[in-house]
């Protein structure tokens, strides 16, 4: 291999900031190639995809409403990933939160009170947290891999929602469409400005501030970091790994649940078989692009919301597939992960190297390091 990695003596501060920017540039460049390959003019395609959606107030509001669930879920996942808990089932927690919160407008649709919305939001958070508690319980009690269990629960939650809206929760006056009844006025999160941007955006900003303070200024935040870097070191400090697993899953589950009920109440305004274009998975990209930092997550959430919006715009203006958004998102995560190497390592080009040197003599043994 002509490429060799040299470990830097310490983290590169410059690269920590530059790496997401390099990653975004590379994604845009790859996007240009992709557009050219599909027979579109890359410059105008990129304009329609990434710039045009930012040019009107209407679409800016749309951007914020799509960023809302991404940021809410993303900050929770950041806490999970820092503490080494791999919750990749946020999509399921989002769905379950939406279902739990919707019980009020569906069973008590005539109830008109200022209590309706706060109750819905709390129910959503409880629903999401409860669903997130399942993989945490299985991990701490039985040592079951949380990646696989949390992911399997996504499919289960989706099927459960599907059953609800086609079965017991189907709108009695809805001509057999698989939809719940429309939420009443009291159960709809008000818009902030009259457009698509609703109160969920405020929740997202609050979540960012609270988690930022939690991580930077509290003992709990310190615990999150210590356990994430070395569970053993955390145990010596008296921190419980099991309690941290619950904390991370309950927090991220609650935030995902809030994202679910806020989006259903503020944007969809009823339950449908599909209530998310994959927000729970895209939020994983958001968390990494934001470098697992709450403020970074806020910025990254807006960027990824733009890929959704650009995808819709490009479909209308150029007739390209709406699947393009997911391709962009996947590429972005690849480039982010690849560029992060630059923070810890330098590259060196090696002209030629002999065959892999076997070092049988102990004198030739070269130090080798594990990278966690």
């Amino acid at each position: 291999m002509p490429l060799e990695l040299i470990k830097r003596p310490e983290h590169s501060r410059l690269m920590a900031i530059a790496s997401p920017i390099i990653a975004i540039s590379l994604t845009v460049a790859a996007g240009a190639i992709l557009f050219a390959a599909m027979g579109h003019d890359p410059a105008s395609a990129l304009y329609f995809y990434f710039i045009d959606p930012l040019s009107t107030g209407w679409s800016l509001e749309e951007l914020v409403s799509k960023a809302t669930p991404l940021v809410l879920i993303g900050v929770g996942l950041a806490v999970c990933f820092i503490s080494n808990n791999w919750n990749i089932g946020a999509e399921g927690q989002y769905t379950f939160g939406a279902i739990a919160g919707s019980t009020i407008p569906i069973y008590f649709w005539e109830w008109d009170s200022v209590l309706v919305l706060p109750l819905m939001m709390i129910m959503g958070m409880i629903g999401g947290a409860a669903y997130g508690a399942i993989p945490a319980l299985l991990k701490t009690r039985f040592g079951t891999n949380e990646i696989l269990t949390s992911l399997m629960l996504v499919y289960v939650a989706g099927l459960f929602l599907d059953w609800l809206v086609r079965g017991p929760w189907r709108d009695p006056g809805g001509f057999n469409f698989p939809e719940s009844r429309d939420f009443s006025e009291a159960a709809i999160l008000p818009s902030l400005t009259g457009g698509a941007m609703h109160w969920g955006a405020v929740f997202a900003v609050i979540a960012v501030v609270v988690v930022a303070i939690l991580l930077a200024r509290t003992i709990k935040g310190f615990e999150v970091r210590v356990i994430g870097q070395s569970g053993r070191a955390g145990a010596f400090a008296g921190f419980s790994r099991a309690r941290m697993t619950y904390f991370a899953f309950l927090l991220s589950g609650a935030l995902a649940g809030l994202a679910g009920i806020a989006t259903v109440s503020g944007s969809v305004q009823q339950l449908q078989p599909v209530i998310s274009p994959g927000y729970g998975f895209t939020a994983i990209i958001v968390a990494f692009l934001g470098r697992l930092n709450p403020v970074g997550v806020l910025i990254a959430g807006l960027m990824l919301a733009l890929t959704y919006l650009g995808g819709e715009a490009a479909q209308v203006t150029m007739g390209v597939s709406d699947k393009l958004a997911r391709v962009f998102q996947g590429m972005l995560l690849f480039f982010v992960l690849g560029c992060d190497t630059l923070i810890l390592y330098r590259f060196r080009l090696v002209r030629s190297r002999g065959p892999h040197a076997p070092c049988v003599s102990p004198a030739n043994l070269k130090p080798v390091k594990d990278v966690p």
């Binding site: 039985f142 891999n145 992911l151 099927l159 393009l324 690849f334 690849g338 130090p367």
Partner: protein
């Protein structure tokens, strides 16, 4: 053909992709690499397998193209995690997300098109055996290949020097390196093999199981395959048991509907996922078994300092 034979045939068809994807991932994990991108490589195999069959008019060529697509896709993962030492869990997720998006885009024009199905190969003589014949010896090539793969991998890992090398890399890459083993090269090859297997498993879905292209048609099978590797505690032959168990669970839902059970279809459809969780819990409860069998360097990156 009796009903029992018909049920067994569908179980085999449902179990085969799980078995192939899982045996590929088993080799990857035995080399110490955790590739969570099985779902992504599988869906790429499915869409390219279907596309290949359409372009060439030949289902076998389609399968070959599916295999190549899975392998090519796995190289992306290998480059990131092995050369650039990126986090394996995150990169695997990235591979899955990209695969689901890319396959949806590539396959958009194929939606609703009838596909070309792989014909079964009836083995003369053996297929005439009552009951066993039609079930075991009139299958398509991929079913035979799935058993050949299990046998081959089992032999390779535990009966050859190269297999020992691969396992040593997965258990202790530092020692392996100091013995002069090219750790990264071994892992590249293992990941590539896993990708090819996932591609084949995906192609089976779009060329045999349901010969058409449906978006997200893998429906979590890549993840179930990952769970199967844990279930099998990294032993090749146990994958057969696991895959057939899950094949049976998948098929049971269709038959339950056919009998007219009054259970909503969504609950039956969630059975394979719930069964996966249950099986994982049962296996991981026995910590000693898991600890002994898990490749010790699983998921750890390796950089040789010079």
């Amino acid at each position: 053909m009796t009903t029992v034979e018909a049920i067994l045939l569908t179980v085999i068809t449902a179990a085969t992709p799980l078995m192939i994807a899982a045996i590929g991932e088993l080799v990857v994990e035995r080399s110490g690499v955790l590739n969570l991108g099985v779902e992504g490589m599988m869906i790429m195999g499915a869409v390219m397998g279907f596309a290949g069959a359409q372009w060439t008019g030949n289902a076998y060529l389609g399968v070959v193209i599916g295999i190549l697509a899975g392998a090519a896709f796995s190289l992306l993962f290998a480059f990131l995690t092995l050369t650039l030492v990126a986090n394996q869990v995150a990169t695997g997720l990235a591979l899955t997300l990209l695969g689901l998006g890319l396959s949806g885009m590539i396959g958009e024009s194929f939606v609703g098109q009838p596909g070309i199905k792989l014909d079964p190969i009836v083995i003369p003589g053996l297929s005439a055996i009552p009951f066993l014949g039609p079930v075991l010896f009139s299958q398509d090539l991929i079913v035979y290949a799935s058993f050949a793969l299990i046998f081959g991998v089992s032999w390779f890992l535990f009966r050859t020097r190269a297999g020992l090398t691969l396992r040593s890399v997965g258990d202790n890459h530092v020692s392996a390196h100091s013995l002069g083993i090219a750790v990264i090269r071994v892992r590249y090859l293992a990941v590539l093999f896993g990708g090819a297997c996932a591609g084949l498993a995906g192609a089976q879905l779009s060329v045999v199981y349901t010969p058409q292209w449906i978006e997200n048609m893998t429906a979590g099978r890549g993840w179930i395959a990952l769970a199967l590797v844990v279930f099998a505690s990294w032993r090749p032959w146990r994958i057969v048991a696991g895959a057939y168990l899950f094949g049976a669970v998948t098929i049971a839902q269709f038959h339950a509907q056919a009998i007219g059970l009054k259970i909503p279809s969504q609950f039956l459809s969630s059975l394979p996922y719930l069964a996966t969780i249950l099986v994982l819990v049962l296996i991981s409860r026995n910590r000693r078994l898991t600890l002994i069998n898990t490749p010790a360097a699983l998921g750890k990156s390796f950089v040789a300092e010079r």
